[in-house]
């Protein structure tokens, strides 16, 4: 089943065309990577999928709903079924870690405070944060912890679809590999579908099932990493040089 279908999407900032008719499909249960050189519009495409940015033409279908023509109620439904982790966590700085994670639970579900506290403790535990970190503010924790807390917040409502924007950038190699393992574990256990933008070669080979490579405004390749050597693209040839 296709979780996300991108069809003929064109994006332009003023006269500058970023995407020229992109097509890709994300299937259920896979970890899908958006790759490409800096400035090719990977993050822009991700932002278009989560309705943060409009695009000029084409269509993006997420969980069976076309995001370019959604009613507000359907859009809210969609927003409750995905989780987004931003590059720098984007935690609410005036709330503690625990309050950040509890926020969607308080707003969207009728749960007792004790239950919310337990769910928060569980989410903290699966992303590898300690219970004592819960009462800290985002300004008091490190960049890696912010990412983990951001992931815990994205997972708060048990989404079916998870968007990750450069999840391992800025993490030390050990934490980055732990993060990869965590993503794989969560996918297997919670049946998540994950779409991520990444530059991290180890994480590309360790976690991704399929990739889309955006280069020169087009998708130059979509598929598994096994056949990537055949792609005629300067980006692919230099980026994957060591592994080909």
């Amino acid at each position: 089943m296709a979780m996300i279908k991108v069809r003929d999407v064109v994006t332009a900032f003023g006269n500058r065309i970023i995407h020229d008719k992109l097509n890709l499909t994300v299937k259920k249960g896979e970890i899908y990577g958006l790759l490409g050189p800096s400035g090719c519009g990977k993050t822009t495409l991700l932002r278009e999928m989560v309705m943060l940015q409009p695009f000029q033409s084409g269509s993006i279908e997420v969980l069976g709903k076309k995001v370019e023509s959604l009613r507000e109620r359907e859009a809210q439904w969609l927003r409750r079924h995905w989780g987004v982790l931003f590059q720098f966590g984007a935690l609410f700085s005036s709330l503690t870690i625990a309050e950040n994670i509890a926020l969607p639970l308080q707003e969207y579900a009728q749960l007792s405070p004790a239950m919310i506290e337990e769910i928060v403790a569980f989410k903290l535990s699966i992303v590898g944060l300690k219970q004592s970190d819960a009462s800290l503010y985002p300004s008091e924790i490190s960049g890696g912890m912010k990412k983990k807390a951001g992931l815990a917040r994205a997972l708060a409502m048990d989404p079916t679809l998870l968007f990750l924007d450069e999840p391992t950038s800025g993490l030390d190699p050990i934490s980055a590999r732990e993060f990869d393992a965590l993503i794989l574990k969560l996918r297997d256990m919670l049946g998540l579908t994950v779409v991520m933008v990444t530059h991290d070669l180890s994480s590309i080979y360790d976690t991704l099932d399929r990739v889309a490579i955006i280069d020169e405004k087009k998708i130059v390749y979509e598929g598994s990493l096994d056949d990537i050597a055949s792609v005629q693209s300067e980006f692919v040839q230099t980026f994957f040089k060591e592994r080909l």
């Binding site: 005036s94 749960l111 239950m115 506290e117 769910i119 569980f122 699966i126 297997d188």
Partner: protein, 370 residues
């Protein structure tokens, strides 16, 4: 599949039968249903999940809690779905170390009062420290012209004065108009029409124009200083400047203070003109005093010292507004709410400081006979 949750109690055995998907929206309902039963009364618990196709982690935590509260009883669980078992296992593993949060001891009244006063005290000390640094970096300015950043000063003059001319002019024009209009009625009663010139001249030159200008500038530039410097602090721009050897005091603080001190007297001068102009219009319309007569009397009865007293206050007000605005900017902590909090504080404190300063001047000038 339809969602349902049935509870069957048989002597000392309790059977919980779930069917349909369980997610976090169902939990509070199920919890309420289950709370009617006392767990200590049962020695056997069976949980039937055979009709459940999916449960989310919140539901798994709910089941974990049920099992926990029945820890004295024997528990059997019917479930063949591997995904559900994996989720339950995941929750069990992660919740084992969980301890409910203990409420921190309530703070006593005296402790709270103490804390508030200590905060004020340390805030005051921080302000004194800021002042000290301000003056020491001011001293450096006298050692060499090189330290004066003319470009930044010119930029700030444009930002906080030239662009403020319109609003200052309009506000003072209206104030002049209103004051004249209110007093015209009273003066007419006594036939003392011509004294409106004396009244307006002294009140506007000495007090109204400087204070009104200061209030407008405090609201406009003081708040801008706080927000600018505060957000630079959050984005670590200040740290970047320090590591590159650009002293924020020289780059950010002094240009703003100097710019405001230069421009405040000019703004007050504009305010004087506009307020008098407003008064003149009312005098002409309401009291039939021609502009020529108004100007003539103004130059005869209102001594120039009143005008200079008002202008003289300008740099002092400017200094207060700029230092408080900038100090509040540096006081911003690493969260977004603190910008709003400090901006409000900066405006309120700046206006208060301006009024206190004005009162002190008033006493001083009266005693000096000026």
């Amino acid at each position: 599949m339809k969602k349902s949750f049935n509870i069957e109690a048989e002597k000392s055995a309790l059977l919980l039968r779930f069917s349909g998907e369980i997610n976090l929206h169902d939990i509070s309902r199920y919890e309420k249903k289950l709370s009617a039963f006392d767990s200590s009364a049962f020695t056997h618990l069976s949980i039937d999940l055979s009709d459940v196709p999916y449960l989310d982690t919140a539901a798994a935590i709910f089941l974990y809690n049920i099992k926990h509260s029945f820890s004295h009883a024997t528990i059997t669980q019917i479930c063949e779905n591997d995904n559900i078992l994996a989720t339950l296992h995941l929750v069990e593993e992660n919740m084992r170390s969980y301890r409910p949060h203990q409420d921190e001891n309530r703070i006593s009244f005296s402790e709270r009062v103490g804390k508030i006063f200590y905060e004020y005290y340390s805030g005051f000390i921080a302000f004194i420290e800021f002042f000290g640094r301000l003056f020491t970096s001011n001293l450096r300015l006298f050692t060499s012209w090189r330290y004066i950043r003319f470009k930044e000063i010119a930029f700030e003059i444009n930002e906080s004065a030239i662009k403020a001319l319109g609003i200052v002019a309009l506000t003072s024009f209206l104030i002049g108009l209103v004051i004249a209009y209110q007093s015209a009625y009273q003066l007419k009663l006594y036939g003392a029409n011509i004294y409106i010139v004396d009244m307006l001249g002294i009140s506007i030159f000495r007090e109204l124009a400087p204070v009104i200008t200061a209030i407008v500038i405090a609201g406009r530039s003081g708040s801008a200083f706080t927000a600018q410097i505060g957000s630079m602090k959050i984005t670590q721009e200040l740290d970047a400047m320090r590591t590159m050897g650009f002293e924020p005091f020289a780059f950010l603080v002094l240009p703003r203070i100097i710019a405001l001190m230069i421009t405040m007297p000019i703004l007050i001068f504009v305010a004087d003109i506009m307020a008098i102009f407003g008064g003149m219009i009312v005098a002409n319309v309401d009291l039939s005093i021609s502009p020529e007569l108004f100007i003539d009397r103004l130059s005869r009865v209102v001594a120039a010292k009143h005008f200079f007293v008002g202008i003289f206050k300008g740099p002092f007000f400017a200094f207060l507004i700029a230092t408080i605005g900038i100090y509040r900017g540096f006081a911003v902590k690493d969260d977004t709410q603190s910008i709003g909090f400090n901006t409000t504080k900066s405006v309120v404190e700046a206006i208060f400081a301006v009024i206190v300063c004005d009162a002190l001047f008033s006493i001083a000038f009266t005693n000096l006979g000026i």
